[in-house]
Assembly symmetry: C2
Homo-oligomer: 336 residues x 2
């Protein structure tokens, strides 16, 4: 198995990428390819360890780059070089902490979509009571059609089955009310598709059910999903900042905070994205994991391990099969 | 000034309503009307205080009631009786902790809309860094048109000016990216309307800016706004529950928590909806404030005081003027 790591992805590239690659090879062995500026990478790697290959990419897809077809096709940026390896069967999965839109667009142009998928989705694991909930789309498609939501549900369920080891992942449709018939036009139109999908569809859910751990997969459009993801992060930050300020406001609370530190570490773990590492772009015909631009070596190690697990689990084949099965199921249901 | 209070609104009605009415009259004086089941209310009020009137309503609009035109027109439920007082100029504002959809629909049929407003909006004050941000629509209209968002912005800005005392409230358009051109189709179409509105429009905002206190008013459709509001509450609950569990897991953290209690009280205040009391239904041609079904007497007292402040501030006239001015401004801008 070979994982390709974009050496030019994170805000502080390529230091964290090189450090993460070395750590993974030292601890887990296996093969990795670092794609980026060869002279720069070789300068950082005077003694190249076994299992590590460096592949040159002349260019970087910057965080500030706008996604345009010309930019994607012409430039030999590290993401494009890396995905060509996947395309030609020379690597099994790709990890980057670079521009998410760039990764999505590069994936679409170089690898295409899984057959039957109209739009790939950003799939974010939300920390919820007792575990995680996979939310998709978390931001790739601001405008969605009901069929996209069905495809998100099929892919999210397959992901939860393979990667979280669940036999019948519970799938919910994010809405502004639990009752069938609640929601905007999109939710109302998607509901019957999900109901007939053959998935373990629990119906409409509100954020209370999502964060309460009542579902394993929550399906929504990329606008709502993105706003919800960012709102969750912002609320967590506001609460933690408020608590920190209050805790340092007097000697009494400072002492209390010191004693209670183990509890605050639990809280930090809950909202620390470095534990997660990266999120998959489900629907691209290849395994792509995108980490936060702020990723450090620890986050990138988690991301590489996640990518390896997905290859071992046969995630891509599962996604392909789930989409095919879902489409057949819907056709049968409609015909019956 | 007379405020009407729905005695049959909260989950535990009419106890909290009666208690709140008595407390407000005792502490602030003035006039209140309690609308509900007269025998029941008189049983709870053997000595009716000065300034308090009881008005009978034979029926209650239950939390589980579905909103239908027949139900709204025929039934003499407490909300309908109360709003008729507003309609006939016998009261200045209405407070209820009952069914929000019922209050909205009853308001629409009995009082109508402010001239130029196509859809009233639920307007929720979000706790943010350093204060509050008024978010509308927080749940009344799952499907919105760009013009609705302009009207929400005009009303939200007028509300923030009158009720928060701001001279040039900063208005943001909630989106999945800050740059102009980001957003779903609705946001993209609403952006130019807000830009030409004459308001202090700061452009697209993400939840980070909202919760960071960068705007006073955030405009969005009622689906996204409702999901964001509920997600914020759910995240806050998850974090507080996690913290509580961790804090009680050992003697050390228990002692720490005891010492740090003043800090936790700050946190509780931030997320305690009882401090807010109720949210206005902006766009109805009358002042209506809806509290949470779980409202207790403390929350209802806050709600009554909010309603009184809105009457004193001349909120309804401000809203009417803001809509009229916004429509003229847009026409001028389009003609110029």
């Amino acid at each position: 198995m070979r994982i390709v790591l974009d050496a030019m992805g994170s805000d502080k590239h390529p230091g964290p990428e090189v450090e993460a690659a070395l750590k993974v090879l030292r601890q887990d062995g296996g093969e990795l390819v670092l794609v980026g500026n060869r002279p720069e990478l070789e300068g950082l790697l005077p003694d190249r360890p076994e299992g590590l290959e460096i592949m040159h990419a002349a260019d970087v897809f910057e965080m500030t780059d706008h996604v345009s077809l010309g930019r994607l096709r012409e430039a030999e940026h590290s993401m494009g070089v890396a995905m060509d390896l996947l395309k030609h069967g020379k690597a099994d999965a790709f990890v980057t902490a670079g521009n998410t839109g760039g990764a999505m667009a590069t994936g679409l142009t170089r690898l295409g979509r899984i057959k039957g998928v109209q739009r790939p989705a950003l799939t974010a694991p939300f920390p919820v009571k007792g575990g995680v909930c996979m939310v998709l789309d978390a931001g790739a498609n601001a405008e969605c059609k009901p069929e996209y939501l069905l495809q998100f549900a099929l892919m999210g369920s397959a992901y939860a089955a393979k990667m979280l080891g669940l036999s019948q992942p519970r799938v919910g449709l994010l809405s502004n009310g639990e009752e069938e018939g609640k929601g905007d036009d999109l939710v109302k139109a998607a509901f019957p598709l999900l109901k007939e999908s053959g998935l373990n569809f629990v119906g409409n859910i509100e954020p209370k059910e999502l964060f309460g751990g009542m579902v394993d997969v929550a399906v929504t459009d990329g606008f709502t999903g993105n706003v919800m993801m960012k709102a969750s992060e912002a609320v967590a930050r506001l609460l933690v900042d408020t608590l920190r300020e209050s805790l340092t406001s007097s000697l009494r609370t400072k002492v209390g905070a010191l004693l209670a530190r183990p509890a605050f570490n639990e809280l930090r773990k809950l909202i620390d994205s470095r534990e997660i590492g990266a999120v998959p772009l489900l629907g691209i015909d290849g395994l792509i994991f995108v980490g936060h631009g702020r990723s450090d070596a620890k986050a990138l190690v988690s991301a590489i391990r996640l990518a390896r697990r997905s290859v071992e689990a046969g995630l891509l084949d599962s996604l392909r099969a789930a989409i095919e099965a879902g489409i057949s199921q819907l056709a049968r249901s409609r015909a019956g």
